[in-house]
Symmetry: C2
Subunit: 331 residues, 2 copies
């Protein structure tokens, strides 16, 4: 099956075509460029919602019940679950995902795990394409669930139109969130396990920190609502759906949706550009130019910054000013 036919079938919500296209973009297939080109006109409809938070806060359970609530509201839903990248524990944290099995036979739900194993740039490049596949397949909402630890997961959450930060009482997350600048990235706070002691205190802490000001506190700006849930019992999930809807409406009214998507596109273009240059360096490396520089650095006769200057100069001096081998992968 060729790419246009695959995209056509994906647009008709054929789950196998959707899965095949995501595999293509995830595996950095030579068809990647053609897939990206073919998908573009059918994208831009889905609201991308990122869920992040510390391990144990209930992200997988929250994702599962949120899918249920969105389906009950008649929406088609995609889930992109970003797995931990550890070479030691890869996959071990996925036990919770079994709850998603409730939705496995629902034709209105697409669920996909993406591994962060391997090159970081690879996932950063693949995730936006995977989102476009789900978007073109007609998803109204795409949830990105991360394990919430590590830089790569934070990068993925930045792919979202709406970022939900999950917090649970008794984990000290309020203060950690403040330290990490999470207040700035959260569009919606969800205090999960809100039946536990300390839920009110977490909410008060968050409101207090919000009151101290920040990027969202200008007049007419968005102040992240604080929603309490007990995801394991499905409590509060409608409030989460309402908060997500409200955030989308606000973004559309204020031009924020377009602004975010343009910023995301800029980051994506830069990431692909850097990856292209990295590939060019690898080609130069193969040609032993880097090797000769490396010999001098290892011998202590050249510092690595001066060596890098020579490498970059060799790149920009290249008679072939195109984007290198990636150009060959197009249709």
């Amino acid at each position: 099956m060729d790419v246009p036919e695959l995209v056509q079938r994906a647009r008709q919500a054929d789950p196998r075509a959707v899965a095949r296209l995501i595999t293509l973009v995830e595996s950095n297939s030579p068809l990647l460029r053609e897939v990206a080109e073919t998908l573009m006109p059918f994208t831009g409809q889905a609201q991308v919602v990122g869920l992040t938070g510390s391990p144990g806060v209930g992200k997988s359970t929250s994702t599962a019940v949120l899918v249920g609530a969105l389906r009950a509201a008649g929406k088609r839903v995609g889930v992109l679950a970003v797995d931990p990248s550890s070479p030691f524990s890869g996959g071990a944290l996925l036990g919770d995902r079994v709850r998603m099995q409730d939705h496995a036979t629902d034709p209105g739900v697409f669920i996909r795990s993406m591994a962060t194993r391997g090159h970081l740039g690879g996932l950063s490049a693949a995730a936006p394409q995977a989102l476009r596949v789900l978007d073109a397949a007609g998803c109204d909402v795409i949830l990105i669930e991360t394990v919430g630890v590590g830089q790569s997961e934070v990068e993925i959450v930045r792919q979202a139109d709406t970022t939900m930060v999950l917090i649970a009482p008794g984990m000290g997350d309020g203060i950690q969130a403040a330290k990490a600048g999470i207040l700035e990235i959260a569009d919606v706070f969800v205090i999960n396990k809100a039946d536990r002691d300390g839920a009110d205190q977490v909410a008060r802490d968050l409101r207090y920190m919000q009151s101290l000001g920040g990027t969202h506190s200008e007049p007419g700006g968005w102040r992240a609502p604080i929603v309490k849930t007990v995801a394991a019992r499905g409590e509060g999930v409608e409030d989460v759906v309402a908060a997500i809807d409200k955030h989308r409406d606000w973004m559309q009214r204020h031009g924020e949706l377009l602004r975010r998507r343009q910023a995301r596109a800029a980051a994506e273009i830069e990431a692909i550009g850097v990856e292209t240059v990295r590939t060019r360096f690898a080609e130069i490396h193969g040609a032993a130019a880097v090797g000769r520089l490396a010999e001098r650095v290892a011998a202590g006769t050249l510092d690595p910054y001066s060596a890098a200057d020579e490498l970059v100069a060799s790149l920009t001096a290249s008679p072939d000013g195109s984007a290198g081998s990636r150009s060959d992968a197009g249709g």
Copy 2:
């Protein structure tokens, strides 16, 4: 104090000068290039030993007792501890480090934590420089301790001349290690907590997997020894020191030390080169060229790969073929 004076004092093992230089390279100071250039002639003596393994395997304790054993052998020791990058839990895992306090007043030991928080490229660039500072300060052995989860920590371990993989019985690590290709990167296996049930089985599993062949199994090659320790009681630590010494001797006899250092230098040069290009992109971004491309991608009228081609073409077509603003930071 200027850079040559700082380097001079660091060479006399002044701990404040060492700390100040590492802070300079970690903070991506404008003096970074001058620091790198000034340090280069005084580097290459230290053996860099990476310690990695799953959380809970006893890395911090092993590092602490290993420092003690190396000191007892009359060696000057540096420790570079790479912290977790989580925006939520940053720093929270460092409780174990308190054991290192035993060495805090020993003038023959330099201990430094580096955060992976912030940009990945930043740490990848800063770690080799921090190692050079400790090297120039006369360290015979530099231990790099990571939390052992995530791609960035693995990258750091690749900075090592000798990589020690710690495993503990009952964690299923033998099989995980095999899956993750850890057999190939380990120069020394340490089975810590070897007084627990299952230690012999882990050793048998490792030996069996080694017998199946791999990069280290050619005749005259290095087969990673398997050392058993109970780090909490200091048992077996002399065997670890002996294994590290033996590996260094083998590398020197076989030209492997130089080969590894050249490969590392090549990776470092490429990383700095990519970072330089990223900075150039950011400058272009500021000049709104990326913004115009991003508008078209966000509108669905241009795919991000074609946009990236245009960005890279604009870089290589630049009339200023030098390495950009980094060039100005030199002495």
